[in-house]
Structures are given as C-alpha cells and as structure tokens.
C-alpha cells in the first residue's frame, strides 16, 4: 500500500507489498464447497490436525428479498443485459434477466440508469493486517523475523475495526484475500474474508475457503535478510527448496501415521503443516513475483515439489511469458499501471492484463493497496482501454471478470461468487453509471444479500469504532 502522503512528493517507501509485503496464505480445506454447506467444515482440516482450528463463525445477515429493476446488468458470464432485473433472497441469486418474477415481499430497488455487477473481489489486500492509521501499533503484516514463517496466519493479525474496511466496501468490494507481507520467502497463510462489519475475524472468514500461502520472490526477502541470508536470488531459491524438502518428509510421516496409527502421532509443526497442505493441494500458493525470469524459476520449483502456483501476484512482467502462464494455468494478479517504484517493477506496461487475456491466461486486477482497492473497477477499465488502443481485443465482460470471476477462481470460490447467476451468493454492486468509467460510484453494495452499503442512506454506511466520535 502506498500511504496517504502527508507530503506532496513523497512516494512512501514503506509501500505495501510493492516494497515489503505481498503474501498469501491459505486456508486449508479440500475443495470449494457451496458457501452454506461449507460453513460447518470451516477451515483448518489439515491431515495432521485432529481438532477445529479457528473455524469461521460467519453467519448470513438476515435480510428481505430484493429485486433490482430496470438496470444494466453485467453478469460476468458474457452478458450485459439492458433493462434487466435481478432477484435475490436468503443470500442467493434467484433470477437474472429482462423478465423475472419478484416475490411479493421483495424490496424493490429502481435501477434506472444504474449498472449492476458482481461484488468486487481483491486477491491481494493487506487490509486488517496493515490497518489505518498506519502506525507501528497496526503494523501486523510481516513477521520479518525469519525468512520462512509458514506457521503464521494472517487472520491472527487482522483487526476487524480497520477503518479501511468501510472505505473498501464503499468501493464495491465484497471479498478479499488478506495476505501477510512480502518480507519473507514464505510469509504465512492468508485469510479469505467477507468484507463486512464484524467483531472478530472469524465472523468474516469465508466459509470453506482455501487458505493461501504467501510466497515472495526477488528484492524484498533478499533485502530484508541481507545480513543473515538469503541475500541473493539464488539464496531465495535455496530457502524455498529447503523448506519444501522438510515439508515432504513431514507429509510422509503424517500420511504413514494416518494410515497405520502405530505409536504416537508425529510431533506437530505449524510451519510444516502449512507447507504439507500446499503439497496436498489444499492450500493455494499465492506468489508475489515481479520478473518473468523469476516466475519461470518458481514454476520449476513448483514442478520439483509437485504443487501448483494458483496465482502470481504483481507479475509486472507476466506479459513476457503470457503463453507459459496460460499453459500452466497460473493466474496473474496485477495492477493496471504500477511500475518503476522499484527495480524489479521497471518493465510494467498498461497492456499486461490485455496481453495475458489474449494469450488465454487468467488476469486479475488486484490492489495491494487500501486506496487502490476502492477503485478496482477503474483500474480494470484503464487496462482494458489501453489494451484496446494497442489493438488487443478485450471485451467489457472480460474486463469485468478481471475483478470478479477471475479473482474468485484464484481464491477457489468461483462456484460460489464472482458472477451473477442463479444459485450464486448475492454479492452485488449497484453502480451510479457504467463501472468502466471514472465517474461511476458504488451506490449500493450487497454482501450475501445484506445491504452493507448505501451511499444515499447513512443507516447503511458502516463506520468502524476508530472513526466514530471524531467528526470535526
């Protein structure tokens, strides 16, 4: 994240992932299950774990059925329906189209002149772990005490009263992946969160979501650990490999014990537990990595140990290897236009998303920034139009998917969120105008059917504890 600069010309050097954060972590669970049923399984069902671990206590907020009428509905499934309506009840989308039946008890929202999209999803946020007002007291994103800290979980840092949360909600965001920073080679597990007011992070945890594991390439780890190592990119690689070699052995021990139950169970190790879950495919690797050559190294690392990288993050050079990334099925979570703030970011170009789309890849526009998360629609528009001006075909639906359906896939939640289809969770944004313009603002945001934000109704504008009582 980039701080609000008190000062005018300052690029805050303590930027988020861009400089020292970036991470991912993951929640453990086998496969994306429908939200409502997944809730009971919650997270943390590692093979080596015999008890619930910090389970999600998320509960859908009760709310009446809603019908939004006469809007332009962008479904993220290829349709842009003029004069469309959408009905949702009990947190589920019931119907979308030009001719829908609304329940008699539905709240009717006039969508005339408005656009409706799925809720915005950010694969890369540090909200909660680097909370405002940004003092050391809230700096909980990098456990920068060891290059491998797979044992830490971002959810144990998330402050649910972060005043950045309502700002992101007002930008249409309904789900985030809150990641550890990028100081470490392996920074820890991410938290997949419904972006709603809550007293605890457990109430926000997306039921059934896979944890991510934040890994980071390049400049940050080697800078942070230059005095003790790793201090080079080859040192970085050796560090990942050493960790996964340990994890392989740990996994074997537990698999054996689970099969024969002979003797005492092996000693639990929180670090290796996270890594073993990566090897089992239950935790998704979310990899901060800027340069094309380093992404290629990380793909080889993944091949060496038989795991998948779910998404590269930042990936400013992804366009240089867009063919490889598409073939490998690795998503790229990128900015529209950040570049040049550090040496490994020098080659960022506007057309990164469009070129990856053209190559058959899965681009995601992410934020890594508490300000940028409020405008992911604008960033996607910027990337789409620059791609088009360069002669690359990008549809509006594809650009919409960059901040809805594609990030849902990165989090393993694409069967639950990310599009407007019957049966999907009612995460919905009503925009004042075309969301791919600079002037559109989110007017209403529904999260699982709950009206968490209404620009015209102060009763639906959540404030965090930190913010209240300070009005000038």
């Amino acid at each position: 994240m980039r701080q609000v600069s008190a000062a005018l010309l300052l690029v805050a050097l303590t930027v988020g992932c861009a400089s020292a954060r970036a991470g991912q972590a993951g929640a453990a669970q086998s496969s994306p299950a429908p939200a409502q049923t997944a809730a009971k399984g919650a997270a943390g069902d590692s093979t080596s774990v015999d008890r619930p671990q910090y389970p999600s206590t998320y509960k859908r907020h009760p709310n009446p059925p809603v019908v939004i009428r006469n809007a332009t509905i962008m479904t993220a499934t290829g349709q842009e329906i003029q004069g469309g309506s959408i009905v949702f009840r009990d947190g589920r989308i019931v119907s979308v189209g030009t001719n829908v039946d609304a329940p008699a008890d539905a709240v009717v929202v006039d969508g005339t002149g408005k656009w409706v999209t799925p809720g915005v999803i950010d694969t890369h946020s540090h909200i909660g772990v680097y909370a405002a007002p940004g003092t050391f007291a809230e700096s909980d994103g990098n456990e920068a005490t060891n290059p491998v800290t797979a044992e830490v979980w971002a959810e144990h840092s998330v402050w649910p009263q972060d005043p950045q949360i309502p700002l992101a909600i007002a930008g249409g965001v309904t789900t985030i992946q809150a990641l550890p920073g990028s100081a470490n080679l392996i920074g820890g597990r991410s938290a997949i969160l419904k972006l709603i007011p809550a007293r605890s992070v457990q109430e926000m945890k997306f039921p059934g979501a896979h944890y991510g594991l934040k890994m980071a390439c390049g400049e940050n780890p080697k800078r942070v650990y230059q005095n003790r190592g790793p201090s080079t990119r080859m040192g970085n690689m050796a560090g990942y490999r050493a960790a996964f070699i340990q994890a392989e052995q740990y996994r074997r021990r537990w698999d054996k014990w689970n099969a024969d139950h002979q003797g005492d169970p092996p000693q639990r190790d929180l670090k290796l537990e996270s890594l073993a879950e990566v090897l089992r495919g239950n935790i998704f690797v979310q990899n901060h990595c800027y340069r094309a050559d380093e992404m290629m190294q990380m793909l080889d690392l993944a091949h060496e140990f038989g795991f998948k990288i779910r998404s590269f993050h930042h990936a400013v050079e992804a366009y240089k290897i867009a063919d490889v990334l598409a073939r490998e099925g690795v998503a790229v979570s990128i900015w529209a236009d950040w570049w040049g703030f550090k040496e490994e970011a020098m080659d960022g170009i506007y057309e990164n998303a469009a070129l990856n789309q053209q190559a058959g890849g899965r681009p995601v526009i992410h934020s890594d920034d508490a300000s940028g998360i409020q405008r992911l629609n604008q960033e996607a528009a910027k990337a789409m139009y620059h791609g088009r001006r360069a002669g690359i075909q990008v549809t509006r639906d594809q650009a919409l998917r960059w901040f809805t359906a594609n990030p849902a896939w990165v989090l393993g939640l694409d069967s639950i969120i990310g599009t407007l289809e019957p049966g999907k969770m009612a995460d919905i944004v009503v925009w004042s105008g075309d969301p791919l313009t600079v002037y559109a603002r989110a007017m209403q945001v529904y999260n699982d059917g709950w009206l968490v934000y209404d620009r015209n109704d102060p009763a639906h504008q959540p404030k965090m504890d930190f913010t209240i009582g300070r009005e000038p």
Binding site: V4, A6, L8, L9, D323, F341, P472
Partner: protein, 403 residues
C-alpha cells in the same frame, strides 16, 4: 527564459477547444507558431505552409500540469542512487535548488507526457525546509531547456507530521523553529556583513540558506507548505500572515474543514483527490476535499504524488469530479490553477494567444479511461508518442519476443 528550439507553424483544426480561460469552442482552430499559441477560435486564418492537424471530433486542452512530483529527480524510488531530490543532513535546505539534479533523459518523462502531462513541478524532499522547487516542461535535452520560465517557483517547507523531528518532536517546535529561521533571515538581510565576519551569535541556518529565504520573505517567491491536519493548516496561515508570505498549501487533507478560512486568506491549495485513508496526520481526509474547497472559492490545483505515474493526474481529476467538483473546475485544477499558483499563469495553463504552446489533442474527455492521446505539443513541438513502455509492448506483443 523559455527555450524554443523549433520555429514551426501548426494548425489544429476542427476540434472542440477547451481554452480553460473561457468556455469551450466547437469546431475551432488552434494555431501554434514559434512555440506559442498564435490564435484560437472559429475564424482563424491558417497560413500557407502550416502543418495541418485534423482534430475533428477531438478534444483540445492545454497540456496538463502536475502540481507535485519529482520528475527527473527520482528514477526508481527504491534505488537510492537514482534519487536526487533530498539534500541530506540539512534540515533547513533553503538554498537547495533541485534543478541541476534533473535528468532530462529520465525514462519517466516520455511515459508520462504521452498521456498528456506536459509540465510538472520538480520538488525537493527533506525535513523542515526542503528547498526550491522548479517547474519543468517534459521535453528538452538539457535542464535549461526544460525549466519553465523562472526558477525556482516555490520554496518548500513541511508543517506536517513529517517534519516533527526537525522541531524536536513537536509541532510547536516546528513552528517555532520556522519562525526563528525567518527571523534570522531578516536579521541576516539587515546585518549580513557583520554576520559574515562571524561577529554575531550563531544564527538558525547557514548564510546561504538564510539568504535564499529572502525572496520568500519579500513575497517574491511563494512558500509551498505541506500541511494536512486542520491545525497545521491554521499554523501555516498564521505564519504566512505574520511574515506576509505568499502561501500555497500542499496536501491540505483536512482543508475542507476550514475551506472558508483558506478562501478568505486567498491561499491556493494543491490537493490529491484520491487520498482518503486516515492517518493521525489527517483523520479527516476524504474524497470530497477538492470539491468542498473549490465550492468555498479556494483556488484548487491537483497533484499526483506517484512521480512515475504522474499520468494518473487525469484519474485524480476524474475522481474529483465523481466526488463533487465540476468538470470545469477539475480541468482548471490541472492547468490554469497550478500555473497561476506557481506564478506562471501569464505563460502557461490556458489556450490563449501568446502563451506557451503546450497542447494536447484527445479522443474525448481527458479524465476518462476510454480516451486516448492523439497529439502532444510541448512548446509548439510535436512529441513522439513513444516511450520505453511502448517499446516493451512492441517487443512482447507476440511471443516469442522480437530481440
């Protein structure tokens, strides 16, 4: 003096012209001659031999001016060796003028000017007094060729949280130290000769720094004061009154809370509309700041502080409009308002006869993402729309790349 390298006549015809100084003119011609605007209007005779540019259906505005940034001074933020913006070890760096640190070959310059930014401030960075800022046009092979009109255009001081260490850890200390420096500068101007013979007690800054402050204290150069908290803005206004300074506020995140007071003082502000993350320096920061200030009658300029993405000044302006500024106010805030604030309103910021021909031809609304840049003129010279980024695109457009 402004260097014009090229004597050329160019006629941009048929477009909708937004002169900023007046209402838009449909189907108008902008005539550029010898680097300056020679005529604007619907009845402009195009001289024989002029290069004609058909701008039918296009929008024409002055080149955009970013009221902040370190263009040319900072190539890669995280690489200290490429950073020329700060004079380390000098908390009162009034004599530090950044101009000779500017690299005209910076790759950031083409990347940003092809998006319609033609002029930016180049601002020092530091502790209490950061030094002297200059205004540069984003074209030219030498520093002399880039610096727009006079140098400097402002003395920069920090009254925000960022300068507290220079005030002994207290905002009060910052204000008191600034007064001491100003007092000593005035004392120095009265008794400079004896100062130089070291016959007086130690003054609050070096002779060079005190001397550099005299144009500020005489009202010849504005003081650009960084202040975000309401009380810091009020301190800046108070000190400006005491010393009769020409003040410009930078940041001004909580300015909306006292917009009337800022307007009454006639103090222009430079703000970043997309800032809204609260910090203890500005808990009241909000998107509507630019709009509320403008509504109160404050002269508002906009800035994009990420130097490498100065081009996002357009997005800053668009968002200012989304949160309440009028479109006309926003266009002025990225053209004429900064030109006037920095004392070059007679030469920059609008499409008026005699002004420097920094002109952009857009496919539409300059604040919209769908809008492309068709032509950029800086001092009347058409700029190539190439940059290192367009070269990278061409190399990797089809894979494997073309080496």
């Amino acid at each position: 003096m402004i260097a014009f390298l090229l004597a050329q006549t160019i006629a941009i015809t048929g477009g909708t012209v937004y002169p900023v100084s007046g209402p838009k003119i449909e189907n108008a011609t902008v005539l550029i001659r010898d680097g300056r605007i020679a005529a604007v209007g619907t009845n402009v005779a195009v001289p024989a031999g002029a290069t004609r540019i058909d701008a039918s259906g296009k929008w024409i505005t002055p080149g955009l001016i970013d009221g902040a940034g370190q263009m040319g001074l900072r190539e890669i933020s995280a690489v200290q060796n490429t950073n020329e913006s700060a004079l380390r070890g000098d908390e009162v760096a009034a004599a530090f003028n950044v101009a000779e640190g500017i690299n005209p070959a910076s790759m950031l310059i083409p990347v940003n000017r092809v998006e319609g930014i033609t002029t930016t401030l180049a601002v020092p960075n530091g502790d209490l007094i950061w030094g002297q800022a200059v205004l540069i046009d984003l074209d030219g092979t030498t520093i002399e060729a880039m610096v727009a009109t006079r140098s400097p255009v402002a003395m920069v001081a920090d009254l925000s949280e960022g300068s507290k260490s220079a005030g002994g850890g207290s905002r009060a200390g910052v204000a008191q130290r600034l007064r001491r420096v100003f007092n000593d500068a005035l004392e120095f101007s009265r008794r400079g000769a004896s100062y130089q013979r070291a016959q007086n007690e130690q003054l609050a800054a070096s002779a060079a720094d005190l001397e550099a402050l005299l144009p500020v204290l005489r009202g010849q150069i504005p003081l650009l004061a960084v202040a975000n908290r309401r009380s810091d803005i009020e301190t800046a206004l108070r000190i400006a009154r005491e010393y009769k300074l020409r003040l410009i506020l930078a940041g001004a995140a909580e300015g909306w809370e006292i917009a009337d007071k800022i307007a009454a003082a006639g103090v222009p502000v430079v703000v970043q509309p997309m800032d809204n993350i609260p910090s203890f320096d500005a808990l009241g920061v909000r998107y509507e700041n630019a709009a509320l200030l403008a509504k109160a009658g404050v002269k508002v300029s906009l800035m994009e502080t990420q130097t490498e993405n100065s081009r996002n000044l357009r997005q800053q302006a668009g968002n200012a409009v989304a949160y309440g500024m009028t479109w006309d106010q926003a266009l002025r805030a990225v053209t004429l308002a900064p030109a006037e604030a920095f004392g070059v309103g007679g030469q920059y910021g609008s499409l008026d006869v005699g002004k420097v021909a920094n002109v952009v031809v857009w496919t539409g609304d300059p604040f919209e993402f769908s809008t492309g840049v068709e032509h950029v003129f800086i001092r009347g010279k058409e700029i190539s729309l190439r940059s290192r980024q367009t070269e990278l695109l061409d190399r990797y457009r089809t894979l494997p790349p073309k080496y």
